[in-house]
Symmetry: C2
Subunit: 349 residues, 2 copies
């Protein structure tokens, strides 16, 4: 027997094995069925008999690229098999129809950033029939353009903060004493002076006096800076969650995946983690969430003027159409960057 198979996971396959693996993966993606040796032999252009393919397949199985649902069935790819497949994927081109779709969308879309991103997630989902995720970077580094304290009534004030990236954040204050209009206005003035030009990471020197104005100012600054933890605003947009229903077979899987998608914090963590690790595709267990072990996630970062501004992603079954998904994600990511970035001289995001 060939001894060289003992070299562990060199990740570089024999040209023929590579062809066979790729044939198996793409056929299985198409059909969602185990792939047999004969169909590989005829589809792939290696002039070789099924028997030869078979012996290569057992080798590929030993090395962990393929698996057999049961004896006398064809092979299906393992996560490792998919991984090899996407690593050696020629970057595909977006279909003409979809190119139009993206172009049209960005040519006609209007409205606030949040609306655009929400609709973008729907677009991406429609283009691919997978569930789409759009994540916008936090505005931790954006500077404050305006901070205003509005008197709702004597016991309720609202701090409204506008950031240089165009985002607006509000914080309720409920002081244990009555606040009159003048006090509020004065506090608002002081907050403006104090905060404008700072970022959320800047330390701010708050007044230490004991009057109501100073109290309000302190509470407002505290509320603003306390926002850090986790759920930092509506920065995640999920489109086409109904697609999970036809992406997966078992009802239980569908439930699990939906359940993950509901927790937006998890989603942003997942995407962020992938970006940090420099991954553009996470297959099966690579994504780190056990309930997502039958999923694959494709992400494309959105970069505006060289700075990371967020990411778009797609979630589907491990047997997803990677080329299409990656092409769509990267196209949308680029359009998004152009829409909010450079060519129009924005400062948005």
């Amino acid at each position: 027997m060939a001894r060289r198979a003992s070299a562990p996971a060199t990740d570089d396959l024999d040209a023929r094995k590579a062809t066979i693996l790729e044939a198996v993966v793409s056929e299985h993606i198409d059909t969602n069925q185990p792939v047999g040796s004969s169909s590989v032999a005829s589809s792939a252009e290696l002039g070789v008999s099924p028997a030869t393919v078979r012996s290569e397949m057992v080798s590929l199985e030993r090395e962990g690229y393929l698996a057999q649902p049961h004896t006398s069935a064809g092979r299906i790819p393992t996560d490792k098999g998919y991984r090899y497949f996407v690593d050696h994927l020629s970057s595909g081109v977006l279909g003409a129809a979809q190119q139009h779709q993206v172009r049209d969308f960005f040519a006609t879309v209007r409205g606030e950033v949040e609306d655009v991103l929400e609709q973008t997630s729907t677009l991406l989902s429609q283009m691919t029939s997978y569930t789409a995720v759009v994540v916008a970077a936090t505005h931790a580094h954006a500077s404050i353009l305006s901070a205003q304290l509005v008197n709702i009534d004597a016991r309720h004030q609202l701090l409204v903060t506008v950031f240089s990236d165009g985002s607006v954040v509000k914080h309720s204050l409920t002081p244990p004493y009555d606040v009159d209009f003048e006090t509020c206005a004065e506090a608002s003035r002081q907050l403006n002076a104090l905060l404008i030009g700072t970022t959320l990471e800047t330390l701010v020197q708050v007044p230490s006096r004991h009057d109501h104005v100073a109290h309000l100012v302190r509470d407002a600054v505290a509320a603003l800076h306390a926002q850090q933890p986790a759920t930092d605003g509506d920065r995640v947009f999920i489109g086409g969650s109904s697609r999970v229903a036809d992406s997966f077979d078992g009802v239980e899987t569908v439930r699990k995946v939906l359940s993950i998608l509901e927790q937006e914090l998890l989603v942003v963590t997942l995407v962020q983690d992938m970006l940090d690790r420099g991954l553009s595709v996470a297959i099966g267990t690579e994504n780190g969430f056990e309930p997502l072990s039958t999923c694959a996630v494709v992400v494309a970062p959105v970069t505006i003027d060289g700075a990371p501004a967020g990411a778009v992603g797609l979630l589907g079954p491990t047997r997803m159409k990677y080329q299409e998904a990656m092409a769509a994600a990267s196209a949308v990511s680029q359009h998004l960057a152009r829409h909010f970035g450079g060519d129009e001289e924005h400062a948005h995001h």
Copy 2:
């Protein structure tokens, strides 16, 4: 044969028929299986033989309350059967565990209105294992407390409007000319003077001059008032959408329902429509959306200081546990009203 059956849908049944119908409905809700005459005869306390029950059942079937999946199977309720059931339902009481859950939640919940509502939808979903919907009334009638125009850069301004119900809305302006800081500040001042105290329904007299300030003011007012159509902000919160996966049998149904839930506008329409028609439960086709014909929706309005402030709802299969669902919805609705309303002397919503 009893001729009186020809009276069309008097909707008032013989006491015995009522008992039988109720037994069938509640058993079917429990088991999700057709119910046979013998199990009804033994469970319900009418000392009567299966044969008698059977003859009553054919009558109930003729009148449209029950249906037979096929000959020689038990009966399942029709929408009309469920309707009778809920119409004659003694309003149940919330389980002790759930009472605690609600109480604890509202005792500890903090943060902005939107966050609270979002979390409320999750709470309601967890209490019932159905998908929950929380709808907040629009602020069409709220008056404007503050309107501020912030200069993002020369070509981008942001109109930030604060309403008396505590909501904050932003609108981007992108004038075709450069705006300097002073112009923006002046426009902001004028907008404030113009808009404070008005509602979105108020007609506002805008300046007709042709300078940049007047232009900005006009554009800002136009943007603000244009917002009416449909998607008026993030006023819908959906919790537990993963629950649809185990509420329905067919994958296709799951997809359809999720697909509806994605379109928040449809959801708010549905809920609003039910409130308008004075319905608290919509069963099957009653809700007007064909894809939801196997669903039931329970809603409870949220009323603060006598004014409608929104609604909470639950979506499940027609064989949902109506008593529990209604009790949960109404409890949460009341807590919500108390939380934002009277007892704390808020003006929120």
